[in-house]
């Protein structure tokens, strides 16, 4: 199933009761069926707890970045988002991403679609927010840019959305794309406080790290943590 911008009749499957059984076996006590879909829950819990420490300290606007290793990055951000939504239920969490490809498609498939504001007839009224459970929302930036005719307006809406949520996790594009569209991302970047780097073994170099660090620090975002990604199939072959 694919998501088209103009498709009004999306038929996302509601998670069944069986979805609450862990993929790797055993009962799942989470109220979020998404959390129960995560295979290695322990890793996610560890990551989530590490990040929760920063969030509780006030750094509740978190950027996730890597260099051209999007799939791992997306998986990490979605997993962490689901975990945080599960353990911090009194906070509304927004998860921003770009595109719906790869393994995260299943998240979109399992979500409830809602518009930003159904009563609002602004150009972004067609943009959708994908809800998971009671406190996790996912926003596809690409989708929003696609439906919006004026990017500044879209940006204002996005910034307003970022401000309206308690916790925002942003799965950013690569810094090369960011640099190319800096006029758009510039304002948005200032809304965030810390960055977590997704490190792809044998792919990411120290120069890349320094580059990313420098880029984000120039926007007031400090690099706090790193999440290691397993080797990609192509890297496994190289090794």
């Amino acid at each position: 199933m694919s998501l088209d911008d103009g498709d009004e009749t999306l038929h996302f499957k509601r998670p069944s009761k069986q979805a609450f059984v862990r993929v790797d076996g055993g009962d799942c006590h989470s109220t979020s069926e998404v959390v129960c879909r995560i295979r290695n829950f322990k890793h996610v819990a560890k990551l989530g707890e590490s990040l929760r420490k920063y969030i509780e300290a006030g750094d509740d606007r978190v950027v996730f970045s890597s260099t051209g290793y999007d799939d791992s990055q997306k998986k990490a951000v979605f997993a962490i988002g689901c975990y945080l939504a599960d353990v911090i239920r009194d906070k509304h969490i927004l998860l921003m991403t770009s595109g719906k490809d790869g393994e995260i498609l299943k998240f979109f498939e399992a979500s409830e679609v809602s518009s930003l504001d159904p009563n609002d007839l602004k150009p972004l009224s067609k943009a959708r927010v994908y809800g998971f459970g009671s406190n996790l929302s996912i926003m596809d930036i690409d989708e929003m840019l696609a439906v919006g005719s004026q990017r500044d307006q879209v940006l204002d809406e996005v910034i307003a959305a970022v401000k309206s949520y308690d916790i925002v996790l942003w799965n950013t594009p690569s810094i090369n794309i960011m640099r190319q569209n800096l006029h758009f991302f510039h304002r948005l970047l200032y809304s965030f406080k810390i960055i977590t780097l997704i490190v792809a073994r044998n792919t990411l170099t120290t120069t890349d790290v320094e580059d990313i660090k420098e880029f984000y620090e120039s926007h007031g975002i400090s690099l706090k943590g790193a999440i290691f990604s397993p080797l990609s199939p192509e890297n496994k072959d190289k090794k």
């Binding site: 890793h43 990551l47 990040l51 791992s72 990490a76 706090k224 943590g225 790193a226 999440i227």
Partner: protein
């Protein structure tokens, strides 16, 4: 470039765990380098020539005091030229010693086939090839002398004192044995000559010293004085003997004189003494009775021998004669004591006869004693005069006694040196068997393997370190942590 601190560990200097991780990551470096090092090591091992080594041990017997020369020298109180360990080892480097060894080697009939190629060189050459530019034997000796010291060593034996080991190493077995042989021969010759030379020099110096000392003593007329002293002492000895004889004779004469004086005194006393008159008259009667007795006895014998009639008258006569005889015998018995008077008279008469002779003897002895006393006095005077002379000469000689003693010592030393010089034997004694004789490669197989292993490990570590330092890719969490210490590692990307 990456942070190098990750390579080091505060506990084991190098972080071996990290290095192993790098080795597995850069597997081509970890495999290629050992293979290359092994190939190169094998090439160099197989390219080596065999090294022939021989060893011979020798002792410095002078240090044990049991060499013939040393023993004779010790017996005579002479000290020979002993040699220290450093001198023995240093001697082997002296030009003179090397010249001897070189001469012995070059004179060998198989010299042309020997090899003096350094054991460190790859290409082996014989002497014909090496010394092709030499036209005469001196040139060859000079060349051998210049290089020979690099083919042998002499070191002290760590386990036995005063024992040394000469080791020769060449690329040719015969050359090695020849060098060992030449070293042992040269050592013995060198030491014998050195000792002989040393003793000869000492003898020359001693001779010179004796000559000088004698000259100086002759100038002082010491020798003449010495002769005079000896002569005076001899005269003294003669006088002492003479005096002793005279004194003995004088004592004998004095004793004899004393006896004669006593005898003379007693003779005079005897002569002047008178005998008792009664004893004298008894003695006269005794003599008369004796005569009467003899007459009566004769008569009786005569009567008994004749055919005398046994008439009463005759019997009466015999009876009377017998009675008279008994009476006379009784009276004689009573007068027996008067014999003393007769003896005394005889003694006195004898004394009167010898009185003059004794007096004469006493006078003669007195004269002899006086003469002897005079002689003793004269001899004592001569002796005293001679004694004064001896004392005078002795005191003069005493002043020059040290010089004389020194001369005496020099003369003794001279004699000793002559004796020792004739019995010179080398104090270096070589064993009559080789201590070691083997051939081997300069770098053993085990050492080559160990070396190549070490070099491989070193180069692999170096290679992977360099590769790591210039490889900017982040390998793992540890690698990331080493390079970005202020960034916390939160975990791993989960599988969804």
């Amino acid at each position: 470039m990456k942070n190098i601190s990750a390579v080091f560990s505060e506990f084991s200097i190098l972080n071996w765990h990290f290095l192993l991780k790098l080795a597995s990551k850069y597997l081509w470096i970890s495999c290629t380098i050992p293979v290359i090092v092994t190939i190169v090591s094998a090439y160099f091992y197989l390219r080596q020539h065999d090294i022939y080594m021989s060893q011979i041990a020798f002792r410095n017997v002078a240090a044990f005091d049991n060499s013939p020369t040393q023993q004779i020298a010790t017996l005579l109180g002479e000290k020979t030229d002993r040699i220290s360990a450093n001198e023995i080892i240093g001697m082997a480097k002296s030009v003179d010693f090397l010249q001897r060894v070189s001469e012995k080697i070059v004179k060998d009939p198989d010299f042309a086939s020997m090899s003096f190629t350094s054991i460190y060189e790859a290409n082996k050459k014989n002497t014909k090839q090496m010394f092709s530019d030499c036209l005469d034997r001196d040139c060859e000796i000079g060349k051998v002398r210049a290089i020979i010291s690099s083919f042998f060593t002499i070191v002290g034996d760590d386990t036995v004192s005063n024992r040394y080991i000469a080791t020769a190493k060449t690329l040719d077995e015969y050359t090695t044995k020849k060098i060992i042989s030449a070293i042992s021969e040269a050592f013995v010759e060198y030491r014998s000559e050195t000792i002989a030379h040393s003793l000869s020099e000492q003898r020359k110096i001693s001779e010179e010293l004796i000559k000088n000392r004698r000259d100086s003593l002759q100038k002082l007329d010491i020798m003449e004085k010495n002769r005079q002293l000896a002569q005076a002492k001899m005269q003294m000895e003669g006088l002492e003997k003479k005096l002793s004889l005279y004194q003995l004779s004088l004592e004998e004469k004095r004793m004899e004189y004393s006896q004669i004086a006593i005898s003379s005194k007693l003779t005079k006393k005897t002569i002047n003494k008178d005998i008792d008159k009664k004893l004298k008259s008894d003695w006269e009667r005794f003599q008369k009775l004796k005569i009467k007795k003899d007459l009566i006895s004769a008569d009786l014998v005569a009567l008994e021998g004749t055919s005398f009639s046994e008439s009463a008258d005759d019997k009466q006569i015999v009876q009377d004669l017998n009675n008279n005889l008994k009476k006379i015998n009784a009276e004689i018995a009573e007068l027996e004591k008067s014999k003393i008077a007769a003896n005394f008279e005889t003694f006195k008469a004898d004394k009167e006869k010898s009185k003059d002779y004794v007096e004469f003897q006493g006078k003669v002895l007195g004269d002899q004693i006086k003469e002897l006393e005079q002689n003793v006095k004269d001899i004592e005077g001569d002796r005293n005069a001679l004694l004064s002379k001896v004392k005078e000469i002795s005191s003069e000689l005493e002043e020059h006694q040290p010089s004389l003693e020194y001369l005496k010592l020099l003369e003794q030393k001279m004699l000793q040196l002559k004796l020792v010089e004739g019995t010179v034997v080398s104090d270096i004694v070589f064993d009559n068997y080789l201590l070691g004789n083997k051939h081997y490669k300069r770098h053993k197989l085990s050492a080559t393997i160990a070396f190549s292993l070490f070099v491989s490990i070193f180069l692999v570590i170096l290679g992977i370190l360099l590769r790591y330092l210039f490889d900017e890719r982040i390998v793992d969490k540890e690698d990331f942590k080493n390079n970005f210490r202020d960034i916390e590692i939160l975990g791993e990307v989960p599988e969804l």
